[in-house]
Symmetry: D2
Subunit: 327 residues, 4 copies
């Protein structure tokens, strides 16, 4: 049984704690930490965690805690991740890995210094059955060498505080990671185009954005990132190769025919669309810990690379010109 | 933690033991029993079960065992299920519940005698996300009152020993349960039609069969049961209602375009098609035990009703005429 | 230029006249006949036909008329068809060919007597691109020998005068012809089952019906015929063969995503669903006349066989038992 | 009956002549002209055209010719189109309208001078049922104001002589016209990006290209133009609006299930994909001539605007930078 400590009792932290308790084999949540004591207590009671640590660093140091989930605000990721690496404890850190590429790089360096991987970044899409099938078939040569990837990331709406840069750092960051992973190469340049914004977008928000990435071997990835899309949480991905294409399908299970229309339901949010991915991510993480293996999921380097690409894209958003990634 | 004992270490038993260990929260497999000691030992080692019982009745009596999975040959289901009920232990029994409707009825009667549900029958389709969505939308009135259900149950191939009656009792039995559940009413008559058999069918096998069921309120269910279908494990279900239709979609996640063709993969077998259903079934079963609740899945009555419908269908297969269900 | 005379200026007659004028190469509508003079005059003016014949037999005899379309009430089909054959003029006769199998047989006999095909029956589905593709692929061996055909024929609603027998003779008759054509063999037995009728069906109407046909080589065709389906004009056809299946797709061209739903439009009526089929049917008919060839479309025999199968099905509807086709 | 003269007896000219004769009502091909006399003679015989003009200008002047189709090499379009306008004869001119925007502008000016439209440019996609449905639903407000259009234009392969600029002027030119038409506004800027070319592309060919267009109201259109795609002739178009999306579906009619795969056929070439569009285009053109109406299809201005956009895109291909359209 892997005893897990969860740092952060907000939406993501409580989701992880709940899934570890109700849907993942081999794990037990034994400790919770949150700056807001009440939140920590509520989640701890729900999942039966016996210990509440006021200080997250104490949770990390707690000998009863074998492994740590970091789901606290992004500014805290760096110190907590470094503490986990120092303590030699497996850690699953929510994305983004850190507030800047430089901060993420320090985490990479810390692992390099101890010559062992402890950290996994929570890019859960790699565990989605659809993306996993894309990867398997692409790697099996189903469509030959990839040339282009067309992506769309559409949210029905976002919170008030969401600004134009977050459309890159919080939304398109998922496409950064998943296309790096699918293509198996680094992104070296980013260009952001901004069409006339949707009437649904909050005043001043550059939404949608059309973000273009070039990779080291000359592939192009285009990402429509659109957080005021209104109609659904819709994630699209088509890989164009030398011999054909592979495309993610929407995850519908039932077709309905009525009112002169055949219809399929579309997801309402990421929890619905990627529910299975979160469970698979946690199950794979727990299994690797049980086996004493290094984690195989997204690494600190992946978190760092994603941060560097997003910094280039944000610079392009501001300058209107292509910007090279500084990796 | 629910301590589970598994009776039967064959395909289904080992699958359940493995899933309980690697994909279900809150359960531990503590004991295994199988007529073949070596099989029991192999599975026990794989899942870390500490005890092997040569006699399944000892496993049921073992105080360290809180709950039992029965996946032994069907002839043993009745005595083992009765022993579990007598011992007051939750039991998940693979389908079919018993060798005859009469035997299944004795299990129903045993539960009635103790006035509490202990038994769940392994009709796992009710836990498939697709069938669950069909049920949810039908019950929400999406298509009005149901009038007809069109089903197809196609296996690529079956073992040598499969005979024409097993196409009903082992294959179409799933459609019997799922349509009873979807429609919320009993099947009262069965008619089996046999077209010219496929050249792929073993000599003498009446395959495919077109099986017609009538329900107590006059709905008609038609089931194409075809176990030498060759091309895939393909499960279809369309409900026709007064206002529209609902139809199960094949569970593809990726579309591939190459060689002048757009293609979607089809499942190769029931493990692939209903993998998530087995996990969901076990997780729901374990959760109900943890909560001390009576199980909410398919009951002994459902197992009995399915057996009675299958007996009528087998009689129709033999006589060529409609046969009333004796329930 | 083929000079066509059209008998009948109702819905089907005017449709044919209009298509011959506006969408078919090589034809000109030169004469119209209808029991209602005003209707004839209206259509004649619209399509620029110079002659109106009060008597359809005069139209047939008119030397300026090279070929005839019969779209008058079914009771008149036999005498008009016989007159065309006698006059040696190509004739396209709307379905059903005649009021009874016996009447249809007299038309077959008339052609046999002159040892030449003049008549084409308006089973336009054979000219639908979808059904034509089904036939091409089946005949090319894509799925091996056919074993079963599953059909659904659903109309949103029908006129007041529609009775339970017309669900066979006017609706399912299309499936009779198309499955005979697809399978290339005769239907020898019919059984009609009637589930509880839809609440949308007029009082007393047995709607839907589940009609089962057996062919001379033991194939089974099941047809759900449902004329109060409400939701759309929906035509389904799946052929199950020894190596796979072929299925007709609904004819959508655009997918719409909005309101958390992906949707495809479904046809509202036969004109929309089979618009291209009518044009193709007329174009093939005109082309064969221009080339002086015998027609290759549905023959008088096809019209007769369909009538005989429908008579058996109507008898089964009344008796509740399987009825052999008297062919 | 509209008497049509066809200039050019190559692939497109013979296709138009054949369709006018065998699939379009109300037209007759009476004259053919081609620089290669034998080609003209072959087509003339096939379609029954009585006259062969060695000189295309004679064909245009021929009083027996009511309307002209220009399908000769692009360098000849300008003089022939100007001659038709001068002669006051309706003319359908294949795309591209002329060899340069300047040349196309002279045709626009000629029509302005006579204050009447005679010319239609052969952008046949506007007559494709799918694109027509996109336009109808977009204009009906189904998805609110459009924001982005994602297009792909993929050919299995192209002839030896195809160069990188023709991927814009001969291939993507269709997307230029169709997106101008769909959005109802002009394109004002073009940017061409070139990923690593496909191994299937001829040495030196920049293929695929990712072409970006900005419109006067700030919409962005991205077009993947890929003429060595190998796998199919695949045309994709998704419009993203403020309330949802509209997407063109591939034109399949039958689904096949075999070998553990569900598959739909994809088109092999433009003739197959846009066969109905060509017929509809010609039928609409002939009908407008019969009615004495000005043509409603793509105008000389549309041909000119497309040429100007393509010139900007070619300049961007060469410079690697965004280029403004000079309209």
């Amino acid at each position: 049984m892997v005893n897990v400590g969860v740092i952060g009792a907000g939406l993501m932290g409580s989701t992880h704690a709940r899934l570890l308790t109700s849907a993942v084999a081999g794990a037990e949540v034994v400790a919770i930490s949150d700056a807001v004591q009440d939140s920590a207590a509520t989640v701890a009671e729900e999942v039966g965690a016996g210990t509440i640590h006021a200080d997250a660093l104490e949770l990390i140091a707690d000998p009863a805690v074998h492994a740590v989930v970091i789901a606290s605000p992004v500014a805290t990721h760096e110190p907590f991740a470094l503490a986990c690496i120092e303590a030699g404890k497996p850690v699953l850190c929510e994305k983004p890995l850190a507030t800047s590429a430089a901060a993420a790089k320090r985490i990479v360096d810390a692992e390099v210094a101890v010559a062992r991987r402890y950290l996994t970044v929570g890019f859960m899409r790699r565990y989605d059955p659809g993306y996993a099938d894309l990867k398997t078939r692409l790697d099996a040569g189903a469509i030959g060498a990839p040339l282009l990837v067309h992506c769309a990331h559409r949210n029905p709406s976002v919170h008030e505080f969401f600004d134009s840069r977050m459309i890159i750092t919080d939304t398109a960051v998922h496409e950064v990671d998943i296309t790096r992973w699918l293509l198996g190469e680094e992104i070296v340049r980013a260009t952001v185009l901004t069409p006339a914004p949707s009437g649904r977008a909050r005043q001043g928000l550059r939404d949608p954005q059309l973000i273009l990435f070039e990779t080291e071997h000359g592939r192009i990835v285009d990402v429509e990132a659109f957080v005021s899309a209104g109609y659904a949480y819709d994630i699209r991905c088509e890989i164009v190769g030398e011999d054909g294409t592979l495309e993610l399908l929407p995850p519908a299970t039932v077709s309905e025919r009525r009112d002169f229309t055949e219809s399929l339901p579309l997801p309402r949010g990421f929890q619905q669309r990627f529910g299975a991915a979160y469970v698979n991510e946690l199950q794979a993480w727990v299994a690797s810990i049980q086996l004493g293996e290094e984690p195989s999921g997204p690494s600190a380097w992946d978190g760092y690379a994603a941060a560097a690409v997003c910094e280039a894209a944000v610079a392009s958003l501001e300058s209107g010109r292509p910007v090279d990634v500084d990796l």
